[in-house]
């Protein structure tokens, strides 16, 4: 059998500044098959974004090895699309320009590229805003522009870090549907970080639940809901069972305290 698309073996990551050391990840083993849709959930600060950076080749592990498509990761791969946790649009380009930047950085240009960028912007609900500058957009609009930017070059591997975090319920649901449809069509490998357990279960083939910092893989759930899941999947008892199971893991970590006057 061919090696999986993404393979992490005993991966650890420690940040060092002076005497201060922060271990973000320790002993992480993950295998993601080519074309799989994997979601990652875990408490804030447990190392999810760090994990994404490791897979993308933006940072190197302190321990263990990261392999993508059979090769050790030594740097970013051009066939990857990343949607970062922060939108990080560049302020000297309008929204269209920001999306095109992804293509231009790969040497892709021309009317076709422009067309695709425009279509994507319309798809994320930013039609008519192509010529606005980032500071003229709302938080959610910036995030949607960043999503368009992450998809415009039709990457074979998609890494998304809470891409729908700043979106309202309706937009979020539509984006979820659109992403599933896209994935069903293109079958790229997707590594999807989210805070919404629902979203993880609705989208992914497999949900990785991470533990507190230093982050490790706590549980892995395979989601065997039929595709396309669409809106109906929410009513499937397996959906409820899975979200419940994952929620329970979360709850088992810390007991929610209704009475404390912490703030």
């Amino acid at each position: 059998m061919a090696e999986a698309q993404i393979v992490l073996k005993g991966v650890g990551k420690t940040f060092v500044r002076g005497l201060q050391r922060t271990t973000a990840l320790a002993g992480v083993d993950i295998e993601i098959a080519r074309g799989a849709f994997v979601a990652v959930v875990g408490p804030s600060g447990c190392g999810k974004s760090t994990l994404l950076r490791l897979v993308s080749g933006l940072v190197m592990p302190s321990e263990g090895s990261v392999r993508v498509a059979g090769e050790p990761v030594v740097g970013p791969r051009a066939d990857t699309g990343i949607v970062f946790q922060k939108a990080t649009l560049v302020d000297w380009r309008d929204i269209l320009g920001n999306v095109l930047l992804q293509l231009e950085m790969r040497g892709i240009d021309g009317p076709e590229a422009r067309e695709r960028a425009r279509t994507l912007l319309t798809a994320v609900g930013l039609g008519g805003f192509e010529n606005r500058y980032p500071h003229e957009l709302s938080g959610g609009m910036q995030q949607r522009a960043a999503i368009a930017r992450g998809l415009v070059h039709q990457p074979g591997m998609l890494l998304m870090d809470e891409p729908f975090g700043a979106l309202d319920a309706l937009t979020r649901e539509q984006m979820r549907l659109d992403l599933e449809a896209l994935w069903l069509r293109e079958r790229m490998t997707v590594f999807f970080i989210t805070h919404s357990i629902d979203e993880a279960v609705l989208l992914a083939d497999r949900v990785i639940v991470m533990s507190q910092r230093p982050g490790t893989v706590d549980h892995v759930f395979d989601v065997d809901l039929p595709r396309p899941r669409g809106l109906a999947a929410r009513n499937d008892p397996r959906f409820a069972a899975l979200t419940d199971a994952i929620t329970r893991i979360f709850l088992s970590r810390g007991v929610l305290d209704e009475q404390r006057l912490a703030l």
């Binding site: 970013p76 051009a78 990080t88 000297w92 231009e104 950085m105 790969r106």
Partner: protein, 258 residues
């Protein structure tokens, strides 16, 4: 750096006010012309001699612009090398600083000996006197790219060159323009200094000549013409800045004031 409308007017008003005070002071206090000529005296002397000044202005402007362009052409690539490679920075940067610190006016006579009398030593002097602000500001610009944007750039797998002109360069532009403006403001002085030492023409030469003749009003007139040329050049750079980096925070009107 200042508002489109009213800007020119407002500064002209200030300038006129200063002139009136100056004229009044020299008259009331009876300051002799050889110490501080009144604007009216400067104006009338200037009116008599302007063709000479006009010719010289042209020469000085050419030296100034040529030296400035050379500064840009050398300064920005140099800043690139410094910003990109810690090794280059470690070994070259102190030398660049040292070069900047050397009093160019003291070595200017050697320039003439080395390069002869033509345009070359003058342009070189303007270059040496103006390139440093460009380098320092540009280096900082290249180094201050938002780390998030840098990650985005790296994630595309683009080469250094493309990353440079699609990301680092536009991101550094506001900073580069600060350097360009400081250099532009230095350029006219630099051209004149070069002409002090190495020329028989240009406004610098005129200043020396008039100084030797104790023709203080003409010294002032020449300096003022030089100042005007410098101002025009400076605000031209600023105008280009407005065209090129309208998106920068410092350009947004609402940023002024507390």
């Amino acid at each position: 750096m200042f508002e489109k409308n009213g800007g020119a007017l407002s500064s002209i008003a200030t300038a006129i006010a200063l002139l009136v005070v100056w004229e009044g002071a020299t008259r009331l206090l009876g300051i002799p012309t050889y110490l501080l000529p009144a604007p009216s005296v400067i104006a009338s002397d200037f009116a008599r001699n302007w063709p000479r000044i006009a010719d010289s202005s042209w020469i000085t402007t050419l030296n100034m612009v040529a030296g400035f362009v050379l500064s840009v052409l050398v300064g920005i690539p140099l800043a690139m090398a410094l910003a990109y490679s810690p090794q280059v920075e470690r070994s070259i940067y102190p030398i660049v600083v040292f070069l900047q610190i050397l009093p160019k006016i003291a070595i200017a006579p050697l320039f003439i000996v080395w390069f002869g009398f033509g345009t070359m030593p003058k342009v070189l002097l303007v270059f040496l006197l103006t390139f440093f602000p460009i380098v320092v500001n540009t280096v900082v610009g290249f180094k201050s790219v938002d780390p998030g944007v840098m990650e985005l750039a790296r994630s595309t797998g683009a080469g250094a060159l493309r990353t440079f002109y699609k990301i680092r360069f536009p991101s550094a532009l506001p900073s580069i323009f600060v350097g360009l403006k400081i250099a532009a403001a230095l350029a006219s002085t630099a051209a004149v200094v070069a002409e002090f030492v190495a020329s028989d023409s240009g406004l610098g030469y005129l200043i020396i000549t008039y100084n030797g003749q104790l023709a203080t009003p003409m010294v002032f007139a020449t300096i003022i013409v030089l100042g005007v040329i410098g101002l025009v050049f400076y605000f031209l750079i600023e105008f280009v800045e407005r065209l090129v980096v309208p998106w920068h925070v410092s350009m947004r009107a609402d940023q002024a004031g507390a």
